[in-house]
Symmetry: C2
Subunit: 328 residues, 2 copies
């Protein structure tokens, strides 16, 4: 499926409308891992989101090829958010390469992100040819709603940066918007393109949200207890950066030794080893694992409830399991 | 029509999806001139684009109220581009108030622009209720295409900034993308919502492009010879900023006294009075006026060709005339 997904994305990016503007397309091709220094398979990311679309379409009894426009759309939307997130977080590296803003500057990077955003809609509109205008229109409303959730979650994430402490409840709307909404949209697109009805849409939409939350909580776990050789980043980085991750927020809520040490930490000289130990002692690691397990169970149980007894259903199950079994 | 347009925009911005994310909506309400220091009629802009939508819908024999979702969409899209343009140009003021990035910082401003972008699509999708899903889908493809042209034109504008000299031909794709595409989209939305056929769409789409180009060329003229008390900005600013406006590019192309003085200008000590005189002497002012007059004639002739013998047709004519008769 991956070559077909890539070809579909290329067809959209190489539209005559865009190629009329020299230079802009090159930035997009760089972000997508096709061109420039370090381009190649590694630079393209795992394409998890488009695979969720096509596998779901096939799993509910449809033809995955009809879902290709939606698969391209979610990958373009994901890459739009990466370009802008990297500017907002001042990140210099992405998948081992310079970020777009680091290479072209803020102005061209913001604008290239906007073009990628528009291309996500352009990609989705090609659904008219494969599943008709009514389904294409419906998919458009889901994409729009997903964008609002993405920007809502990102807004919270940015405003949280300067907050010294936050209630645990702040965590859920942020990660629902930033991570779960798009994964759920992928599954919903798959259901719509596969021609399944509302009950399946409702069940699998829930699967998508739980998958997204379980995935994010595991990411937070890896950000403290992950194996550096596997995650590719220092497992102290979330503590150093003061990221509003689930373990850190829960540790603060407990008001024990970790919360005290966290409040009194000195920037630049954080004893991450000690903080990590406190989190384990106070049961925060266990809490995080319980939460991840809960959402993993919810996701898998929704998937089972959908009753997808096909090869694609099995492949979808395996993709979800691989996303949800990255740590413990 | 203006109160109805404002109410439609409010209905979209105050959607439950967005209000779930505290703070984000406030930034959008500020940009739209509803809230914050300096809010009010002046801060809202002239709402030219939504008026073009509703007046066109009525003028082709439709009901302007059915076009309200599209009117809201173009105003939201315009404001999205203003938020991002102000970051990209590092502009501190917009309509006499602090720009969004100057008030909230780059990260929240980029993200708020993205939310405004998504809301433009959310607004347009409400057309399903007034003109049905097929017309709503078609409008969506026009909005997407317009976004691609906008970002294409903006890409050129940013890359031109550092260029010392540019061929005159560079001007047209930039302003077509940045200004004319959206004005043409407004008119196209009006035609579609008003239920008129393809011949009218083709004629009035041309009207929109010519209107946009004529408007932009007049803007360029005002940027050098405008009355400061009317334009609200120094009439030397385009020369000081080295803006790639039509008079400056044409003056360079001539290769005469202006081109020589322009190449040898010292930043920080530009003799704008002398440069302006050279432009007049070398016929650049006259050339600019001829170009503006040409596009104004094209626009008015297309409008006449459409044969809109209604009160709204007359109002549309007056709106176009007011946009195209701002200087000479």
């Amino acid at each position: 499926m991956l070559p077909a997904i890539d070809a579909e994305i290329r067809a959209v990016v190489d539209s005559p409308r865009l190629t009329a503007y020299t230079g802009l397309r090159d930035i997009l091709a760089y972000q997508l891992g096709w061109e420039g220094p370090g381009s190649g398979i590694e630079a393209r990311g795992k394409r998890i989101r488009p695979l969720l679309v096509t596998l779901t379409a096939e799993a509910v009894g449809g033809d995955w090829q009809k879902a290709l426009p939606a698969a391209a759309a979610v990958e373009l939307l994901h890459n739009f958010s990466l370009i802008h997130d990297d500017i907002e977080d001042a990140s210099l590296l992405r998948r081992g390469r310079s970020t777009v803003w680091a290479k072209w500057g803020n102005a061209l990077a913001i604008n290239a992100g906007d073009a990628m955003f528009a291309l996500a809609f352009a990609a989705l509109q090609r659904l008219e040819q494969t599943v008709g205008p009514a389904a294409a229109f419906r998919a458009g409303t889901i994409l729009t709603d997903t964008c609002l959730q993405l920007t809502g979650g990102q807004h919270l994430d940015i405003t949280y940066e300067d907050a010294d402490s936050l209630p645990l409840e702040s965590y859920w709307p942020m990660v629902t918007g930033k991570t779960a909404a798009l994964l759920s949209a992928c599954v919903q697109f798959g259901v719509i393109c596969g021609g399944a009805g509302s009950p399946t849409l409702e069940i699998l939409s829930r699967f998508g949200y739980s998958l997204g939350l379980g995935f994010q909580i595991q990411d937070d776990w890896l950000g403290i207890w992950g194996d550096e050789s596997q995650t590719g980043k220092s497992n102290a980085s979330d503590l150093t950066a003061g990221k509003k991750s689930l373990p850190i927020l829960y540790g603060q809520k407990l008001g024990g030794g970790f919360a005290h040490a966290w409040l009194n930490r000195t920037k630049g000289a954080i004893d991450t080893e000690h903080l990590t130990e406190l989190l384990v002692e106070e049961g925060v690691r266990e809490y995080t694992e319980t939460q991840a397990a809960q959402y993993t169970r919810d996701a898998m149980s929704a998937l089972k409830q959908a009753g997808l007894q096909t090869d694609a259903g099995q492949a979808l199950h395996e993709l979800a399991a691989s996303l949800l079994n990255r740590c413990f």
